[in-house]
Symmetry: D2
Subunit: 335 residues, 4 copies
């Protein structure tokens, strides 16, 4: 009953970029174009799909060039991520107080959607990183909500053939974001009243937002809105975007369990930021752990687990889960 096709792995292409932050403004390594990054993604050897920032960094790169680069690495674009969270949009994309800038944000997404169509993507990812606020009393919350809902609805209606996946996040770069939790985002999607908007659930966002990611996933699935996932890890206080399983093994495994056992079909996708690590090796490490989770799910005694859960027997439930998980992890790491 739990046979599955071989899982498909993917990554945000930014996994293979280099980064800046507010201190190392000169960057953690030399800048890379999207074409450089695609090569590195190909070098991993286990990725099938990538999610691409648009405009293609650092700008001035054509869709045709990107298509060629992808083809060369046997990669497919599963999504585009329009960058409406740059400096220009510092006070908001969909919620920018300036109507012209708000319009620019919507149009930037629309242009990304067109490119996405051309690339044959599955969904446009919407991460409204600058949509939120920083200080008490700074914002009219109803206004932020309405502008966010309206913008996404407008886009969804303009591209009925495409899917839009909202990636919620509690904070960063704004101190507080509009789409901050799975439940808030589901309510917003209801308010939109459209069918082609769903959620991209980032494991780390869910975790440091105080959710149990497995529970969040089930909630989105039960409403038919879990369009995509991203996986990574953190210390539960910030979006550290660490390698999968480097801190929260059990909870990440539980997340995979929740997805697989709900029959969720989708790509197992990395959203790691290897600031100081080799990005190809970091991707391989993340995928190795994800593969182990999938093997562990084949070892898992679901009847025993269901019995333990139906009694809320934490010790028994953990034991069943651990037995399967540790076996698979040991096999994976000794390989």
């Amino acid at each position: 009953m739990h046979t599955h096709d071989e899982p498909i792995y993917g990554a945000g292409i930014w996994h293979f970029a280099t980064y800046v932050d507010r201190y190392a403004t000169d960057g953690y390594g030399e800048p890379r174009t999207v074409l450089d990054a695609i090569k590195l993604a190909g070098a991993v050897g286990e990725l099938s799909v990538v999610d691409l920032n648009w405009p293609f960094p650092p700008g001035g790169i054509s869709t045709a060039e990107v298509k060629d680069a992808l083809a060369e690495q046997n990669l497919r674009a599963i999504a585009v991520t329009p960058e409406f969270y740059t400096g220009k949009f510092m006070k908001g994309g969909f919620t920018n107080p300036d109507p012209a800038l708000r319009r620019d944000a919507i149009e930037l997404v629309a242009a990304a959607a067109e490119v996405g169509r051309e690339l044959g993507i599955d969904y446009v990812k919407l991460w409204p990183g600058q949509d939120g606020y920083d200080y008490p009393f700074q914002a009219d919350y109803s206004d932020l909500w309405d502008k966010s809902v309206d913008a996404v609805r407008e886009l969804a209606q303009a591209f009925p053939d495409l899917k839009f996946a909202i990636e919620y996040k509690p904070r960063e770069p704004r101190n507080r974001m509009v789409f901050s939790s799975v439940a808030r985002t589901l309510l917003a999607i209801e308010d939109m009243g459209v069918d082609n908007v769903g959620i991209l659930l980032d494991f780390g966002h869910s975790l440091y937002g105080g959710e149990t990611p497995a529970e969040a996933a089930k909630m989105a699935i039960s409403r038919g809105r879990l369009f995509a996932i991203d996986v990574n890890d953190n210390f539960r206080g910030w979006d550290d975007d660490m390698v999968v399983g480097s801190v929260h093994l059990l909870e990440t495994f539980e997340f995979f369990f929740a997805l697989r056992d709900a029959g969720w079909q989708g790509v197992w996708q990395l959203d790691q930021f290897p600031f100081r690590e080799d990005s190809v090796e970091a991707a391989r490490a993340g995928i190795r752990t994800m593969r182990a989770f999938h093997h562990a799910l084949n070892y898992l005694d679901r009847d025993e687990l269901a019995a333990a859960q139906s009694a809320q027997d934490a010790l028994a439930a953990q034991r069943v889960a651990k037995r399967a998980l540790y076996r698979a992890l040991a096999e994976s790491e000794s390989a």
Copy 2:
């Protein structure tokens, strides 16, 4: 436009109890009955209503006795809080794995509702403190959700003349609770499909759950589901139930602003736990600050604030809010 009737203040009667915790098992002070607590609530001199635990602590106290005690202090019961979170329900009230215990929890609430009717309450408060889980893999989240939703629906349908207000909370006593955020609870209420279930928003729960309480309030109000509020304060990591305004003045004031300017009608209610403080003085301190918030709302220049918010001008918005707030607080504290 912003004239208001004099605000009505209330408190959970447990504000006037004494407490135990897992270390001071002998208690922070001598035990008090609900009748003792009602006398103390009356001694505050500024409370109009109270929310009453039921069965009336420590048990064996009749509704008639409570009625008399309330009448003597000029207090009205605004709500009853059925205690389906005691040791018996350690693995859940509405979600208890044992069907008999789950039934007991529902019946305990039903019995409390009957008592509430007799007392003329406005709402039955539902705080399913033991409904949740503690460990990764311990629980079947869909099952917890369904049992929670079904139990509340059943109760709401059994008492169509009463209102039920769910008090959400991220955690404690369970490590994770089913009704953990405003948005999750609104989704649950939708799933119930009844009109007489809403939310009691506890400022502190919202704050340490990572929400902005003013934003959470507006979300519940916009869906017609904000039935009641509780106010207190904390250090943003736990439900410290400190005196109102002892840490987060601006954000509490913003919460009051959000409620009043949305036209919300309801009681301004304390949920403080003065473990080591004089409970009458703690209540007076909380009410003094709440009164100052109401006065500050009369001083607030709403046009200036709206202009600042519509530009997301944090400095200007904070300045407008502070000018009104500090004036009222200075008047209050020098009085």
Copy 3:
């Protein structure tokens, strides 16, 4: 080089008690005496030592009775934990504003130390749970510090033949505690100027206090002050006292690595609070994981790890650690 005697396992005897909290005031299960708890500790079958609350719960139990009970279970008292954090001491033990209560606290510890001598303990554990403060401006911090330092020094000098181990903790039951971190406690111990005071490092306290427990351990060891440890787990926001390894496997393993490789000699001791779990099974689960950590340390390739660490190569270091850990855990769970 890394051969070790078989590790010795212990537990705080409260692991086998039942608990109350501020909601389930009637308790999570029937009350148990210390004699009941000792029997349960014996039933685990893998414990050699216990840390005993004093006065022996619930009071009225003699040292002779306890000795007999321990003997019957082949257990030894490694420590006593004087309960100077009950309701009487709600405003502080060593720092109580009332000089008479402060004196009572010191004398209670002294009496416990006498009992400890009689029991042949290794150390008196000092956990000044009520020594701290709750509100901004409530306390004179220098005064709290001096009173804490003076009290411990006085006790240490009065019992030069005994060791005193301070268990630091960030908070609970006070919102903030005086001995809140490893470094603060080391500074306090310096101020005491005595040799027989050290630290009991509770893994969970360190973790939710924002420390890296392995790093905290090395700091205390390097100053010759790590007298004892307690192990458990939590969700990094509160002292959940969950079963060892139920959330933070890697970091707990790193903690064991730091201790063993520094040549630390001591007992591997549980401080779990199984509110809703079978306490014997919870202890067994914790010990099973601790045993696996010890086995994993035998598998660990230290040269490879040292090479990775000396290059700060996170991926390589994690891989070396995981290979050893997963092998041992798989063996442990499949056994």
Copy 4:
């Protein structure tokens, strides 16, 4: 009794820069040189001193140019902050695994110290932002400690006429930093065994690190090591570097109280990052609140406060503090 010279206000010159982060890589506003920033600092009209990054951003600016720019604005350089936390030092400055890079970091600080001498600074600020680690098992903690201690000692001995102030911080940009708390840093300074190293206590770092800043300040002062402070605010989970008093009014006031009443002499210095705000206005807002704190300290009834604190009477202590604070704030905001 509490008359004081007029307080002196300062700011980190980066307050007047523009910023990038990992998303808005194009920046929150146009880049500014240190000379631009000095002009803006002068425009505030209330600043006397600034702390200057070195090399002077964006590079290629001479000390003479900076001196002239400062003179023109009537500003003095109180400190230099050597930038040994740029991309080059991504794996550490003082703790870099590569001995050559470690040496570069030390030499960069030494060069900054020379420039500082020429500018007549009070102290060299050391913020080893990249000295730490990101993953469990990544680092040898003793090695990080020793390298950090040795580097600062070497610098302090090389510049015996200068003071060095270590700014501790729990995390960012590394997930964990070596100098993470006041107590750890004091222990490190002890290990250095030199007189001219102390602490720069950043209020926000202390706050989100779980300390009570007033308590941390007293600890550093009691050991003669509080060389400087920075003030700002945050939501207690990250270094948000918000405007002073925008969230934690009481605790910031308590911090000022602790400093002034301990007789601390120093500059009241801003470390705000107005990503999306006008930086001159943000500085004025911060200084306005700091001035109000100083006025409030003149209103504060110290006898009443001492009496309340000596009884740990939280309600009374807060009331005394609030009366003084609100009066001063109301005067300040209505001015």
